[in-house]
Symmetry: C2
Subunit: 461 residues, 2 copies
């Protein structure tokens, strides 16, 4: 196989070019592309143009494409190839606030020696500039060794990921034929917590809802009305408390219907990860798992659904005290969903549950927030085994199929709009401080990440 | 009995002097004595001095007395008399915000014709300038007819009632011998809702508490931790929901211990009031009584204890949505208490209850807010029957012994510091808009209120 036989040359080229690759990443980070902040619109566009120019230099047919928000960058290699692949990343970064907690200018990227090894520090060093550049640098070395890029490759870079990707779905719909591939490659995830390479093969979905319980038509004095008038906070607390039983199970009717048990393969893979729930919770000052009693910690995080109250408000909660019976109380709730659960049906069963607790003279009003079904990739696609092997070779440790407790909305969009699964591989570490001050990316993540993509592409194209 | 035989003369004098009495009340209202607002400190003092001068004109030995806050006005008639009586009122008024909802200058007192009869409108017209002047005007007519004031009368007027009476307890302690009487007369309450004269003979107490449940040492992402990590809002909701059972009873251990059933006399009195809970709740847009199932509406409001959640907050409750597992959640609760309940013991049983719901890796912290025991006057004191008769004669309707769901803190202070009960008589109406824009006092309340005090004093001194 031509590509495999010349892989060692590509890897050597990557190693030799690492100092220059770091300089390119630094230059990229120096463009403050805070996509969500209109004051940075020109910077954000400059980052798109910088990336486009890089890809054109490598021989891609690349262009900056307009949307109603920040632009997309789309690049194509030549037609053909064994299978068409779409690589996705995002060039926008999180805001830097609170800026006074940074040890230096967030956009003045620099390499530092730390007890955890060399790191490149700056906003976007990991999320997602460093991660996406692992793929770009792999393609640069590939071009240098092979003289051509892999055929059948599309690259898509977004500038609104940190603001919820408001233009993405429309762009995918409008350019579906151009962008549809057999598989999407996404580099926006992490190594498993102990640094083991991993492919995220399932993601939980989400259903968010808001409830407002209204009682009297005004705030009441608890001395004048207390004992006789309904208290909407009490109604709300009672309804929400009843969503879970003493064993941590969700009591909503039909909540667990349609959920499949974990496959034997994944059960074995996950057990092999040696996850310690007590240690995991200990990192945030907790130590006692909640949730269903008969499930492992990783099942509870990755493959079992949740019900959470994300916010609650009612009455007077400021300084001091008011003896008020408030007119209303409200809560925001969300469920993390797994394959087999329909977000709309779960929303309705929650609302039906609440209504059973509302007295006849009170009302419950609901407001839907976002929803997304869970994603479970078809790991029988041979690409998954091939990528696993490539990662295992690069990192010298068996790569794992893992789950993720949260959503990666773009994977859902690719599934819904373009009908394709995503292969989620990334090299971030738990201590990379993404979205926080002093974000960094280990130089090892960057270097071995690029080598990983070279090995993956050698097996896929 | 001399005083009774000349009562008709006193009442006639009151009727003849009504126009001048209204002018005096208008002048009093025009002094903007917003005691809680330092910008009105000079006005507040001016109101004290105005009142002091009125009392001196009537022959009282009156003086303005300093405290660490607003001054007190204390006045004495001559020594002796059948029993020493203390009359209490307050000359400070509520702030006028929102001032743009007033139909005129809040302090430019004026008499208006309304569908409900003539009223005097202005801040303090009812609470408490109008009410306290009913007693002052009765004493003026008394003096005019008898040539002397009733012996053994002390008057105490406070300027901080609307700000929680911070200086009152200390002043009572420092001047206990001077102020202690056999009974306090307080004019700061209402007629029963249908305009029937009433004496409030029991007041519920209060216990306020605040609980903060803390879980992780930071806010967590519900995707990363949801299902495994404790959610303090869920813990709080579950604990608070369990404070009441499905029948509206409070489940806190020992909560109802020591509470006596209503006496047969009061049960009959209250039944005679024809209270309609559905109509009462209908005024605020409700219609279905909550609380213990086997109790009348007035018992639930006046003689049964409550548990209420007055405020709750946790996580993100603003616009939009955050998939957060918050680090903490908090609630403010209060219980209205009745005779036989100890506020401190009720506070502890609430805290013990909450602690049972807190997982081992979470904490519950508590912060005590105010507490006051319930007040239940000794209605076997013949003064109560005498006042009831006096009110019945004046209003042509049987006066009622009623309860109040809220506290009147000064009555508790009189009991605790001076060991005396309070006789609470007032002529406010439910539509007087106290504490709200366009406060008013019916001229009938003012005129018949003064006549009522003349009748009462004729029977007591």
């Amino acid at each position: 196989m031509t590509t495999m036989s010349r892989l060692e040359d590509v890897l050597s080229a990557l190693d030799a070019d690492l100092p220059q690759a770091l300089e390119r990443l630094k230059a990229f980070i120096r463009i403050p592309s805070v996509g969500t902040d209109p004051a940075h619109d020109a910077d954000t566009r400059q980052a798109a143009e910088w990336l486009c120019a890089q890809l054109q230099d490598l021989g891609f047919a690349a262009s900056v494409r307009e949307t109603s928000g920040q632009p997309m960058v789309v690049a194509h290699s030549g037609p053909g190839g064994r299978r068409k692949l779409l690589f996705y990343g995002h060039y926008d970064v999180q805001p830097v606030d609170p800026v006074d907690l940074w040890t230096g200018d967030p956009f003045d990227a620099r390499v530092e020696d730390t007890p955890q090894g060399k790191v490149i520090r700056g906003r976007g060093a990991c999320d997602d500039k460093g991660q996406l550049m692992t793929f770009v640098e792999a393609m640069r070395a590939w071009k240098q060794v092979h003289g051509t890029l892999p055929d059948g490759l599309v690259m898509l870079f977004e500038g609104e990921e940190e603001s919820g990707s408001p233009s993405l779905r429309r762009f995918l719909q409008d350019n579906a034929d151009e962008l549809r591939a057999s598989l999407a490659l996404i580099c926006d995830t992490s190594l498993y917590s102990d640094g083991r390479p991993a492919i995220t093969t399932q993601l939980r979905g989400l259903m968010g809802d808001e409830v407002v319980i209204r009682a009297a038509d005004r705030d009441l004095h608890s001395g004048s009305f207390g004992g006789l008038a309904a208290n909407p906070i009490q109604v709300l607390a009672t309804a929400l408390a009843a969503v879970k039983d003493a064993d941590g199970r969700v009591t909503l009717a039909g909540f667990y219907d349609g959920i499949e048990e974990l496959s034997a393969q994944l059960r074995a893979d996950w057990a092999d990860l040696g996850f310690d729930a007590t240690e995991f919770l200990g990192r945030v000052g907790l130590g006692q798992p909640v949730g269903e009693k008969d499930r492992t910690g990783l099942e509870l995080l990755w493959s079992r659904p949740t019900f959470e109250i994300n916010g609650i408000a009612g009455g007077y909660a400021g300084e001091g005290f008011k003896t008020v019976l408030p007119a209303e109380a409200r809560a925001k709730i969300s469920c993390r969903l797994v394959a087999g659960q329909d977000p709309d049906r779960i929303r309705e069963t929650f609302r039906d549950h609440v209504r059973r607790f509302v007295p006849a003279d009170c009302t419950a009003a609901f407001h839907a927030h976002g929803s997304a079904p869970a994603s479970r990739m078809d790991i029988s696609d041979p690409a998954f085994a091939a990528v696993r092997l490539a990662l295992t070779e690069e990192w010298g440790r068996e790569a794992a199929f893992i789950g993720a407790g949260g959503s990666i909305p773009v994977a859902g969009e690719f599934r819904e709009v373009l009908g394709m699964d995503s292969l989620l591989v990334g090299f971030a570490r738990d201590d990379d401080r993404i979205h926080s001050p002093n974000e960094k990316y280990n130089v090892e993540s960057f270097a071995k990440g690029a080598r990983s993509w070279a090995r993956i592409m050698a097996r896929l194209v």
